[in-house]
Point group: D2
Chain length 336, copies 4
């Protein structure tokens, strides 16, 4: 690493997230000023194996900051999971003169980085791009803020119908292992109830009691429940049917699904993406970035070991979790 | 009807649709200029039976044109479906001095109007508010244009992910009996395929062939299928699983559901709502409106018999149906 | 014209409008099925003179239906306005084997078509793409519906501040010669006042009286005035200052300007664009389209002579103009 | 302060900001659980003087989290600026049994709090609601994130036209004394140039040189300049005219103005508002909040002395300021 880097590889991997293109732009533009080539591999790690890559020029990326998706495409890569996959990937990177590798993705993508590292001479740096916000070492992942606003846009619309019919709506948001998105979407939509791992399992009897208490306090009203995607194994639609039966109020489910992944990134995601993309390149040039993730903590770009990004020590906001639980409590004897 | 009307009843019924509040506003403001009171019943026809109503003042409705949902609430009404329900409703209307009734809703709501009419002395006029656009006698129903844009917003976002992964996505839109929304959303999103009643049943083998043909022509690419809600009885998710198996390309389903009903109405819905709300009042005052629907044809407000609104003679756009079928045809021997 | 057309020229000219890319897509895809090449000229008519053009393939346009702007770029063309410009353009079209020409634009662009026609052997067809909706022969121009919703989005936001401060806001929308956009934006935003050519000149004394009457009726309230861009020669900011002085209520101006031209087209613009693009190609193939515009009337695609598109016989909606004038009238002795 | 608080006063003051209603909701709901009354004063501090206030109930605020503007209205208050205004305000608060006061606003509103404090027995706490993000002691003010996304939405649209015509656009955003919004909007829109106080005065010759350099590097292209509102005293339109003359490329100005203040708050603003509203009430109950602002630093709610909120020690992001300056630098001899 004593001699200057001349050629960087770049790829997007795992589930796509709004802001990935903004990272690509920042990487290419920062590198260009230093006279460094950026080679973009297509379809995640697959592009390394299939030799699908292209040099990325500034003119190509100058105006992609607002585009959803990823111009480099993404995909799972089965070849990397083969026993000799990582060694082979490293060899191909060397063969193509790639002196450092930047990978934009989440947890799984970062494990891929770590698998390749023992066989690879250059630095490998990760940039957290996932709507789940479940990566340790960064306050926010790129894409989370946009996915939150997409979910809110949908929930605000559903509130109109829920209000018109004074119905219960169950809205399932993404987030397999953590409740970041469910908590944020629930708080920000003013949901009456949030179901996420941090609150424990779903209990239909508890739900029924909460709904009835609210109706005693406020009269008939809409009731919105935001639920994280794996909290009710039979699915949101089945839970909606159970709630309809239990409460005798019509309850409908709405699964937001993949629409949360797309769309033009919001401002904070574009800024975070720009910062981390630029910072990753700068840190590579300083030789600091090997097996590190470029994240942001307290507004400052930081490096954080890739090996620790999956530790799941990062916590959803305890303050908001508590507040939500209390906010509709009865305050008898005073009336609302 | 020889003496002037002094008090009009107004209610929203059936599935809610963006623009219902804009109609309420136009009715109240047009009536106010003529010195006529407007009484708003709550929860659709239920408000008549339960005596839930209020006088609507201009100051209340002046700034609701942009609000989704309906300030009058909506609901199905079981009492109206009882044998003596319609007579009872008429009696209650008379008792409350309601000299004419305006009902904003769809097909089912208009049948309610017709049921009450034999027992009621005043005029009853309908205004088409439904996202389905399946009401005869009007080019567009209030709410359709907004629901289309809501669906497009979602499909555009999903296209980002579909492109990033070169995947198939099945997107289910509302519209039980007709394909207006599916056709419009499919054309306007640039969907590769549309499945709606007008094209006949789903054939997985045909779909598979079309997908493979497209890939031969264009290489790997995203593939979006818009499907109307009842076209595959087992549901969009089941069809997605079948397609994944048949094509070996990952196919995901996304059911847009109730988010299509809410939201701030788009401009064309607000204008249509304003026009039809004002026109309904004017025609009531002229004594022309009994058992008529206020609709729009060729840009002009018109009256159309409520009894014919459910005839289902209105056609989805044949020109667009044909174009969509041809647009991806192979043009060999010339290449794309 | 007896032998089949093999190569069509296509360009976008004049002010850009949302939906121009959707037209380009429809033209290319419709032509491709017939085995016809489409040559896209860059920068409007300039591309003809400067030989800037490219063959447009389906793969390039398949997914551009949702993009704002125009991939072919637009510009005024000074060369076409030179005495021998039209003849020269025709000669260059012939030289490049362009057997028919499709021009997407407004009034000025259509005059360009007519100037070239005497020197050109092939058919020239126009497609109305302009946010102004001021083209005779079509109910709507491509881009108008989107510009309306962009304006509404802004006005709805300004209403929040106007309400919070009970202030007057003057909002200037585009539309130099006609009030289509001002009337539509004013009606659909629930503006208290609309100033557009159809209502005659601005009279500050009248405005002041209307504002004070409203305040007597409704108490202090926000007051939104939508004004078409050339209605007050000194500009909206100057008029705001005058109104502040006249009413002693703070009045602010907001000039929406060019943000009305951009953005992803709404559904109705995408559908109209698709229809007219496809129809223009079909009519060219039938030999019907020479010096015609492809427009839409009453939901049907139609041909209309280019020479008549600027006749200005098309009227803004008289019904809505009248309703707006009356809607806030006092209805004494009854209170609001 | 030894006895429990039973009645809190609440008002919104200064320029409105998206998220003010979300704060009101959180204050009322948090207080209700503790059995505390919240009295909302109308029109900022004016409501104290004019006795315009109401008790706020949970049912009123339950579903206002997504609403722009402020249900309590806002306004400047001249009476508070009178010599005896603050003492009088304190007396009226006492008279109405207001035992603590929460003020949502910016710098100027916080000075009002400090003016009243010497005459008032209870705690006064501020909550930062302003789109300018220029308040010391909190990482972000409520409303900033929404105003950023509103500006981006406009700039993205203008980029379409700028691209279509390869034109220069000057876009003026709010922010009188600081460049937070201009820097954020410029970075996040991918603007080619940002003009804000942190970069020093506008120099037309420098601008001209930068524009020409970019065109040498990238060919003709759109060029977007984001400018903070007071950076060119003659106004953005005058600067646009100067640039047109200097570069011979058409340059247009667009002043975003008040549309940046309105609209439904984005998720991060709703969450921040909820957190700070709840925290302010909790800290009041603990007796900690006197003359403090409830802010957020590093994700944690904190108290910060109101007297220091206007110190202007808070810095715009130095890292992004530097990156923006370098990002388009020429990297000769390597080509883009």
């Amino acid at each position: 690493m004593s001699q200057p880097i001349r050629k960087i590889g770049l790829l997007t991997s795992g589930g796509d997230a709004p802001g990935m293109n903004a990272v690509i732009r920042a990487v290419v533009m920062t590198a260009a000023v230093q006279g460094i080539e950026v080679i973009g591999f297509s379809h995640g790690f697959n592009g390394i194996f299939s030799n699908e890559f292209q040099q990325l020029h500034r003119a190509q990326v100058l105006h992609i900051i607002q585009q959803g998706g990823t111009i480099l495409k993404s995909a799972r890569c089965k070849q990397l999971e083969q026993p000799n996959g990582p060694a082979q990937a490293a060899e191909l990177l060397h063969k193509n003169g790639i002196e450092a590798l930047i990978v934009i993705g989440g947890d799984g993508s970062f494990r891929g980085c770590q698998a390749i590292a023992p066989f690879y001479q250059g630095q490998i740096v990760g940039i957290p791009g996932t709507i789940d916000n479940d990566v340790d070492g960064t306050d926010f992942t790129i894409g989370f803020a946009t996915a939150l606003d997409t979910a809110l846009d949908a929930i605000d619309k559903i509130r109109d119908t829920a209000d018109a019919f004074e119905r219960i709506f169950l809205i399932e948001v993404m987030g397999r292992h953590t409740g970041y998105l469910a908590l944020a979407a629930g708080i920000a939509s003013g949901a009456e109830q949030i179901i996420c791992p941090e609150y424990g399992d779903v209990d239909v009897v508890d739900l029924q009691r909460d709904i009835q208490q609210l109706q005693q306090q406020f009269g008939r009203s809409s009731y919105i429940i935001v639920i994280a995607e794996t909290m009710y194994p039979a699915g949101a639609t089945a839970l909606a049917a159970e709630l309809t039966k239990a409460t005798s109020i019509e309850c409908r489910a709405c699964v937001l699904g993949h629409l949360q992944r797309g769309g033009s990134p919001v401002g904070s995601d574009r800024i975070l993406a720009t910062k981390l993309g630029a910072y990753a390149v700068e840190q590579l040039l300083l030789g600091n970035a090997h097996l590190m993730m470029a994240g942001e903590q307290g507004g400052q770009a930081v490096l954080f070991p890739l090996s620790l990004t999956g530790d799941k020590k990062k916590q959803t906001d305890r303050y908001l979790l508590d507040w939500q639980e209390r906010m509709l409590q009865d305050s008898s004897p005073r009336k609302v």
